[in-house]
Symmetry: C2
Subunit: 220 residues, 2 copies
């Protein structure tokens, strides 16, 4: 049986709570499907919500960026944040306007980020690349000392988190079943385009097929 995360006042869903889940495996799967997450924080005056690339390793969510990033500098103060990660799976087309919906999953992670040690950064950057482009790391020019020194890597424990999702067919009212309109699901997925913009054709380590498989793994 998959582990359940503890519900807290911040993660307790009250409306449509049948769509909420605290199952660790489901939360991890939704996170692994997404390329970016939105980190919401309060800088003392205003609220900001900034998208950034994410990846998961075990029970932690990782982000990275320049040392000069306002977001990363703020996270280093130990500020409480909410990370929103969501994926759209389709439009739900019902017979009535009211029952139209979207199939999706959405995770909120609450807590504070911590900084990753200098000596561990390269390892995590490699894991990030290998998540989307398996096998690519061995072919690229690795980060040098200056590049690693200019990069901040941070992580947040995925312990206080909740998943909300909708799946399945439209739920129309019985009296609408004869409405003369098409109803069903129009699936949507983030997909690699067919036209790669190649700038270097002489080399052979083309990541296309493996990466597409990775992207499609969760969508089809």
């Amino acid at each position: 049986m998959s582990k359940k995360l503890f519900m807290t006042p911040r993660t307790q869903v009250k409306r449509l709570k049948e769509r909420a889940d605290y199952d660790q495996a489901l939360i991890f799967a939704a996170i692994d499907e997404a390329i970016v997450g939105v980190i919401a924080f309060h800088d003392g005056i205003n609220i900001h919500a900034i998208p950034t690339a994410i990846w998961r390793e075990g029970e932690y969510l990782y982000v990275h960026g320049s040392n000069g990033s306002r977001l990363l500098k703020h996270l280093q103060t130990g500020a409480q944040v909410c990370v929103s990660i969501s994926n759209i799976h389709g439009f739900v087309l019902a017979r009535s306007a009211f029952h139209h919906s979207i199939n999706y999953n959405a995770v909120c992670i609450y807590g504070a980020f911590e900084i990753v040690a200098e000596s561990d950064k390269e390892h995590h950057m490699k894991n990030f690349m290998e998540h989307w482009m398996p096998g690519r790391w061995q072919h690229v020019r690795k980060p040098n000392k200056n590049e690693l020194a200019a990069t901040t890597v941070m992580r947040i424990a995925i312990t206080e988190a909740v998943l909300k999702s909708r799946q399945g067919l439209p739920k129309d009212d019985v009296e609408d079943m004869d409405q003369p309109v098409w109803a069903g699901i129009m699936p949507l997925h983030l997909q690699l385009g067919t036209e790669l913009q190649v700038i270097e054709q002489s080399h052979t380590h083309l990541p296309g097929k493996k990466m597409n498989a990775q992207l499609r793994k969760f969508h089809l």
Copy 2:
């Protein structure tokens, strides 16, 4: 010449400011490309960041939901929020690990939402559906009085907003140009799946082609 929005302390981008833009037409185009936005708010104790379907009409961004929604109830207090709307256009694969990136656009809108009058709700819900599924509204069963009464529609002026984006090819260092690895852009777009999950085949108002054109308009 397209209108420029005023820069404010909240919307002033300091890092990589060459990626920032205050051009109204570019901001509107990025918003129109997205299905959901993430609304970040502070409830007095914690920060939350909640994804919800969005659409634009003129200089306003609209959202809707159940009267019971915590998010919508909170927005009605006039709370300051940040709405984050982003779209991913491709992975940027460079010769060096360090110069890998993502092509994207991302809008932050700051301000407060206001409620839409009861008598205007149906009009805006129609506009929402017609944005993604042109021509569908005339075929579905329209919202009745109870359904409209149970729905809250809100909007925020798109006046204090900023766009950040990256486009184009990888920018490798000169000394890496002989690295034996493929480099270029792997385009990504949210796309309608080929397998519709049809639950009602006897009717003919299939929105597929028009909707796909709408989705692809901004991506191809």
